[in-house]
Symmetry: C2
C-alpha cells in the first residue's frame, strides 16, 4: 500500500535498526509516508548478494520500491591475507557485481531511486582492540582490513555511480573530513550512534533532493479530522489517492 | 516474502522508530526474520482507527501478518473537559472499538498473534511543563489527561484481552511498579528511551513466549557459506523453504 524504501547491504545495514541506527532514523523520517524495508545481511559481500536478487527484487513485481540504498564493500575489501579472506572479492569484480545489482533493479523498475553507499573508513587501532577483546593474546596481528584498501573500493563505488548517473555517498571520504573520525566506528568498522548519524543525514539529504520527502501522508493528520464527522476526512483522502 | 509484524497504534507507535524507540528495537531483534511494519497514527483514537482497518488489514489478503500490536487508548482517554476533548472516546466505546479491531484481524487470519498494549501512565506535572514550554502563560491549566482516567482505560484493555484470550501488556501498571516512573515519559505522556525500553522488553517477551523468535533467518548466515562454492548454501536454503 505504502511505497517501499529498501535498505540492501551487509552488517552495517543489518544493524541499522539498533539504538541510534541510521535505518531506524530513515524509518522515523518516513513514518507516515513509506515503509523502510531492512535487507541487511551480516558478513555478505557483493558476490553473495547476487544470489539474493531474484528473491529480494523479483522481476515483474507490480510494486517495486521507490528507493533502494546499496551499501556493500566493507566485506569485499577484506584482505586476502587476513582473517576475513573468505569474504574478499577482487576490486574489479566488486564494481561489476554492484553494476549487476543496479541493473537488476533498474530492469524491473527504471524509476526506482538507487543510492550507492561506499564502505566506511577502517580504524586499524579499533580493529586491533576489537580482536583483542574477543581473542586476547590469540588475536591475529595481521589486519583483516586496511583503510587504504577500503578507500580503493569506495573509489570504485563512486566511479560506478557517476558512470550510471546515480547518486552516491562516499562515506569513506565524508567521515574522514572530521579530524577524530575514529569516533564514528565502534570496532574500527561498524558504526557508533555518531557514525550512524553521518549515514542517516547523508541518505536523508539524497532522498530530499530526489523529492522523496514530498511523499504524501498515508492517512489524514489527526488535526484534519472533524470530530463530529470523522468519516469525511477518510472519504476525501481515499478519493485523493 | 518475510513474515510481517505490524505495529498499529497512535503517536506512541508512530514515534517508535526515533532514537531508542521500541519499534526500532523490535525491528532490530527481527532484523533477519521478519519485517516490522510501522502503522502508527499520531493523535488517533480507536474510533478513527476503525476507518483504517480495511486498508491496513484487507480481507482476503494472502499474506496476513504473523503478529500485530494494538496500542491505543492514550487519546481515547483524553478528558472531555480538556484541550484534547476532540480525541476523547467514551470508555465503553473504546473497549468495543478495540474488540472490532481484533475481530477484523482475526476474521482474516485467526492465527495472527495479537497483543493488546494499554496506554502508559500520565504524569500531570510533566504534562503541565510541556504545555508551558509550548504556550507559556497561555497554557491551559486544565489537565488534558489524568493518570486515573488513563488507568481506567488500561483496565478495560486488559479485561478485553482476557475475555478474548489474547496476551496483553499493562503498560500503565508495569511502569508504575518503578518508583520514579515519571522518567519513562518525555512530556508526561510520550516515551523517553527508558520508557521505550520498557515497551520493547515487554513486547519481545510476549513474542518470545509465542515462539516468534524461532522464526528462521531468511538467507544463510554468512558463516554457512562456502567461499569456494557459495551457490550451495543458497540452493539448500531455498529447498528448505
Amino acid at each position: 500500500m505504502r511505497p517501499q524504501i529498501v535498505l540492501f547491504g551487509d552488517s552495517i545495514t543489518q544493524q541499522s535498526f539498533a539504538s541510534g541506527g541510521w535505518g531506524a532514523s530513515i524509518a522515523d523520517s518516513y513514518s507516515r509516508k513509506a515503509d523502510v524495508v531492512l535487507r541487511g545481511y551480516s558478513g555478505y559481500n557483493t558476490r553473495w548478494a547476487l544470489f539474493l536478487l531474484n528473491r529480494l527484487f523479483p522481476l515483474g513485481s507490480g510494486t517495486p520500491p521507490v528507493a533502494v540504498t546499496i551499501f556493500f564493500g566493507a566485506n569485499d575489501a577484506a584482505l586476502i591475507g587476513g582473517t576475513g579472506k573468505r569474504q574478499h572479492v577482487p576490486i574489479e569484480e566488486y564494481k561489476d557485481n554492484l553494476r549487476k545489482i543496479v541493473q537488476h533493479i533498474k530492469n524491473n523498475s527504471p524509476d526506482t531511486l538507487i543510492v550507492l553507499i561506499t564502505p566506511p573508513p577502517i580504524d586499524l587501532q579499533g580493529r586491533r582492540e576489537h580482536a583483542r577483546s574477543l581473542y586476547g593474546d590469540k588475536a591475529s596481528t595481521v589486519p583483516d582490513r586496511t583503510n587504504e584498501e577500503s578507500g580503493l573500493y569506495a573509489e570504485q563505488c563512486v566511479s560506478l555511480a557517476k558512470e550510471l548517473g546515480l547518486p552516491s555517498i562516499n562515506l569513506w571520504s565524508k567521515m574522514q573530513e572530521t579530524e577524530d573520525w575514529q569516533k564514528f566506528l565502534s570496532d574500527g568498522l561498524h558504526l557508533t550512534p555518531q557514525g550512524n548519524a553521518v549515514v542517516s543525514e547523508a541518505v536523508n539529504k539524497v532522498f530530499d533532493e530526489a523529492g522523496l520527502s514530498a511523499l504524501p501522508y498515508d492517512f489524514p493528520p489527526h488535526a484534519d479530522i472533524d470530530a463530529e464527522d470523522p468519516e469525511k476526512a477518510f472519504v476525501q483522502q481515499c478519493a485523493a489517492i
